[in-house]
Symmetry: C2
Subunit: 346 residues, 2 copies
């Protein structure tokens, strides 16, 4: 029995059927896209089909492995009884219908394993620190490369190669590049637009180590910029650093978001910070807790979160500055060390 | 109104709420992870939050764009009425509960848009042909590279770079490499195992063009192999080519699978083909129709499917040979042209 399974059992009001692939991997070490884990007070069973059952037996300890047909939910349904929780945000309506074919009384539950995952263990923090170091090094190398004349897509591929060369396992998510006016869209995919002189370039990326992600954004300048744009950069950086100062155990995610938002909204760039301040990072690139206006989360020691305000100026460009930090009882441990100065590249 | 939306309307018994991201992109061209499309007889509405609404208005034609709060399902629920279909395999139980808060009578539906997507238009076929050409070229280049002494992970990264250099947009899925005994697991991720002389190496990968995927597997030999292994290769290739001969409009997916399975099960390698024969490919790497023992699908002209039997010999290694083909009324159009001979690499 892993400590994680033990902690989960202590948190449960009734047995829980865990079907999120990442949650099962977190609890057992076993990774499959066709799996269910039934956690009961006296017993833990892992259900998976013939393709994976042998591998599962070799991976999990103190967990019974039960081989099912290809459609796990239909096979598991008759084996459930009494009250059984299920992951309501993960199970599709069709799979819920299959489970409902069995005798159990199904109880929708949300975020149970995710709450455990939100507080990282030492080994998890080590992996994330390493992933952040790799992205620091990749940003250093990127800043010595030519930007002007390359397309956003070429720059994204270059960064992917740098992350790999620096030791990253795989991208946390597709490298995002927003140059010039494209930077004004927070979720822009890299395009074939050629980067020009005298504009902003947002680079947002991360890599994984042992399956744990890093996440970092920096905004570069390709030569000299209008005064208004430099002012926006200064405001965004101030907002980012002020918000970092508010990240500590016991703080509300909504309040930390408000620190950055107030600073931007008190400037001439009011209303141009069009997304939440940050999110948890771990086995997934977006996980608990969240730092945004409508968040109900309270930060705990061991949370790993991003702090990433942005200013998006339609037609002119965008700025985003993002650090990845560990929440402690005092100041956060900042994991991303690449300079936050407005670096000029060629 | 796109032709696709028109065809969908003709197929509907009641209005359909489309929430699968790829299905919405297929129907409207608009791509967002927070979107719902309500297709009614006289009206089509696209719901998305403030982050995407402006982009949506610029993308979609003849579709009303309605801006919602961040949680689209909760905002859409009160706007539904009468009988409304929803995508039961896509909508989570939690989102279903949010929809149920509105006045509509919800009807679970499965695979409606997926059935349209399964029959490719000319433009879609062009993109897939191009993606397959790129992977052909990448396999050619890979076959001239050194295998022995490289780890599976290094070979996977090399193939990723080759696919990119040959013009691929992004990987269809993470490059899969199974060398020596690791090849005996159909779903093995690349490891740090060093490839040795005198063994089999399975390489399974693809790339996208305009968002459409290719998929191809070849198995290489690093020098001379035992007679039994060469025989297994010959059996797998015969099974693959026999199954290709059965791919045509009107054939049942289960029957095409059986052609390959019978051939392998009639040999000394009986029982070692431990997965389905193939699957549809398009905007997703796995889509309709399926070629497997339990498939109910009937092939139609314009389907694009893989034909990929394998023989997995525990402790010894694995073989898989996969082509991507277009279903026609006659012989299939094979899109993957790299040699299926057992190529010896160094």
């Amino acid at each position: 029995m892993t400590d994680r399974l033990q902690r989960l059992r202590e948190a449960l009001e009734e047995p829980l059927l865990v079907t999120d692939q990442v949650n099962v991997k977190y609890l057992t070490g076993f990774n499959s896209d066709n799996v269910a884990l039934l956690v009961e007070p006296e017993r833990v069973r892992l259900f998976t089909d013939f393709r994976y059952a042998e591998g599962a037996r070799g991976t999990v300890k103190d967990v019974e492995v039960v081989e099912t047909k290809r459609y796990v939910y239909a096979d598991v349904a008759p084996m459930l009884s009494g009250r059984v929780g299920f992951e309501a945000a993960v199970v599709s309506y069709a799979n819920y219908e299959a489970l409902r074919g069995g005798p159990a009384e199904l109880v929708p539950r949300a975020g149970v394993v995710e709450q455990l995952r939100a507080v990282k263990e030492d080994g998890e923090l080590e992996a994330i620190r390493k992933a952040a170091e790799i992205s620091d090094e990749a940003y250093e190398r990127l800043s010595r490369e030519r930007f002007i004349g390359r397309t956003e897509q070429e720059l994204a591929w270059l960064m992917e190669q740098l992350l790999h060369e620096c030791g990253g396992e795989r991208l946390s998510f597709d490298v995002a590049i927003g140059s010039g006016p494209n930077g004004a869209f927070p979720h822009a995919d890299p395009t074939d637009r050629k980067i020009d002189a005298g504009e902003l370039v947002i680079v947002d990326c991360g890599t994984t180590v042992q399956g744990y992600a890093s996440d970092c954004t920096r905004t570069f300048a390709t030569g000299s910029l209008p005064a208004e744009v430099k002012e926006a950069y200064a405001v965004c950086r101030e907002a980012q650093e002020a918000a970092l100062g508010g990240v500590r155990a016991g703080a509300f995610g909504a309040d930390v978001d408000a620190i950055a938002r107030r600073r931007i909204d008190a400037s001439q760039f009011k209303g141009l910070f069009g997304h939440g301040l940050g999110h948890g990072v771990g086995m997934r690139i977006h996980e608990a807790p969240t730092l945004r206006p409508e968040s109900k989360d309270v930060l705990e020691p061991g949370n790993v979160v991003t702090v990433e305000p942005g200013i998006y100026m339609p037609g002119k460009g965008g700025i985003r500055i993002e650090d990845l930090v560990v929440v402690t009882d005092g100041d956060p441990e900042v994991l991303t060390h690449f300079s936050k100065d407005l670096i000029s590249v060629e």
